[in-house]
Subunit: 344 residues, 2 copies
DNA sequence: CAATCAAATGACAACGTTGTCAAGCCGGGG
DNA sequence: CCCCGGCTTGACAACGTTGTCATTTGATTG
């Protein structure tokens, strides 16, 4: 059986088949396929033609085994995380990987998790993951960062914090956005503005809260702790927190929830008290999840270009892995306020 | 440098290190690690101890290259698909893969797509994907099925159709569920029941519609085509279709939408006409997306155990790949009606 | 025209595992 | 006591690619 027949039968030609077809050595084929320099133009053409004809695709396992490079990126995320967020992260990361011919391996994690370090270490060493993308709030876990540094595995964190020295950091200006959102309400006459915080373990929580306080301070409005409640980025906690705020002797005229799911909970709590939105209460969220535009009334919220952020994160990470280190690796992204009908 | 030192430095021991440590050959280590028979108990213990001590993890690339097996499963999905659905599919498939030490590679596809076959072929051959999981509606694409058969790549389809002879088929009894849902409304006195169909390219669309008609027939209610509108499984199409139904001279007293997103659109259309839900109009959806419980009023809908279905799909697929073919590979799953407040 | 040097190409080992096949070991039957 | 056969074990090739280094080629220079 000739190699050509073998290729046809198995549906995948090897580098030997291409070399034979093009009348060169396998090493030259390798050079052409990997865009290495020092190949004569005519030779390159011959090889590319053979590649084309045989529909040759390099075997990733052999590549990974031979070279140092596995061409695999890892994506570590919290499995119960809001999924519209993860969808965008996934889309962005995958599209970056596709451009550079990388694979993306997923590692969902349930938090909190005592075995986190062990699980991720296993994930990285076994699959020879070259680099890891950490969408928020994964970049905020000190244990994880320490592990990645120990394994000398570069990573790209999407996070509102800037603590990841030396690593790719995709920064969303959440504090500024939260401040703008709060100001938007202040400018429309609101003075008693409630705020529902997110999960304390997420870096975004502090930033969004800081933006709220910053806006109050800027406009000389006294901060009142009783207008602030703790939530956990989910519907039920938002509903409960909102119910408390609406029970206050002096009910706020507006509530900012730290994400859309909690804003949806706020809407429900308001409805249960017979309040009209936005006439009796303005409500704003964060994230511009698909949910936001499906609710009634549609939510005023803050949109982050998550997909682009994730694509940039993965892209810069791969650039670094390949030595094209474009400094500085800290890239800020701006958020945008989306005004809908839940606010007056 | 001894192999032990090398292992310590690089963070990953090889099979040689383990063999040396345990005083056996690499082949014996391989046998132990892969749970192959015919290894003396005492030998097995020695090896396992060495594995433990060196924190040995087999190199997936070498495994893939050497054996026929890549231990990689592919998940082909439509990238704009409803993502709560994909989240469950992903969760389920990943958890099955984790149990069996497989990796899962994702291949999102935008449909319709002329290059579909080429893209998937590349995906499968390059990464040496052993088998493919096809969540609905991917299992309904004839081109894709033909390709997979040509590549001799087994697959597991999650679909309401039963057309995938010889392959793992995870069946959701959507017609029965749709029938029950419609009957639920009929039993509560509704006679003029509108129906919003889904995307014609999805297998689920026909099944859900058939269930609706079945229920009408069963209760002697005449089918009226004007009460049925075409939608495309998204919010806007649902809203438009509902608006048409609500404009009818004889407005339906209930509307069944083929998924929750279209039901959300229906809610909005009803609100814009000043209708009270469920007093003036009952609305029901399909899928029990997170959205369903966040809307007002919360949606009556149909829940499918998607996560379990995907886990079973991936699990059975891997069992087949490993020769543990437990026939028959057609597994039906029942749906469940979730009654909430959008129906009277 | 020979010497020199850079560019182009190739031979071969290495990557870490599994598959194949042969060999060693051990107990039981003739 | 020897032989047989099954359980254990090991030696070695193979998987398909890249890295290293040597060799060939071709042009340039003295």
């Amino acid at each position: 059986m000739t190699s050509k027949q073998r290729a046809a039968r198995q549906g995948n030609a090897t580098i030997f088949d291409v070399a034979e077809q093009a009348g060169v050595s396998i090493k030259t084929v390798s050079r052409v396929v990997n865009n290495e320099p020092n190949v004569r133009e005519s030779t390159r053409d011959k090889v590319l033609e053979a590649v084309e004809r045989l529909r040759y695709l390099p075997n990733v396992a052999a590549r990974s085994l031979s070279g140092r490079r596995s061409r695999v990126l890892g994506l570590v995320y919290g499995s119960p995380d809001e999924f519209s967020y993860m969808k965008d992260v996934l889309d962005g990361a995958l599209s970056a990987c596709e451009e550079r011919d990388y694979s993306l391996l997923l590692r969902p994690l349930t938090l909190p998790n005592a075995e986190l370090v062990e699980q991720v270490e296993r994930f990285i060493t076994q699959a020879r993951v070259e680099g890891v993308v950490l969408p928020a709030p994964m970049g905020d876990l000190p244990d994880l960062q320490r592990l990645l540094r120990r394994l000398e595995t570069p990573f790209a964190a999407i996070t509102p914090k800037v603590a990841t020295a030396g690593q790719v950091t995709i920064l969303c200006e959440e504090q500024a956005a939260s401040c703008s959102l709060t100001e938007f309400l202040i400018e429309r006459g609101h003075r008693a503005i409630g705020f529902i915080k997110g999960d304390p373990d997420h870096g975004a929580t502090a930033k969004r809260f800081a933006g709220y306080r910053q806006a109050l301070a800027k406009h000389g409005i006294r901060y009142r702790g009783r207008l602030v409640r703790q939530g956990y980025f989910n519907f039920d906690s938002g509903k409960a927190a909102a119910a408390e705020l609406l029970n206050l002797p002096q009910m706020p005229t507006a509530i900012v929830a730290s994400n859309d799911d909690m804003a949806a909970g706020t809407l429900l709590a308001a409805r249960q008290r017979g309040l009209a939105i936005p006439e009796d209460l303005s409500v704003a969220g964060f994230d511009d999840a698909p949910l936001a535009s499906r609710l009634w009334p549609p939510l005023t919220t803050v949109r982050q270009p998550i997909r682009e952020m994730a694509k940039t994160a993965a892209g810069l990470l791969m650039d670094r892995l390949n030595g094209n280190a474009t400094e500085p690796p800290v890239v800020p992204f701006a958020c945008e306020i989306v005004v809908r009908e839940s606010t007056t």
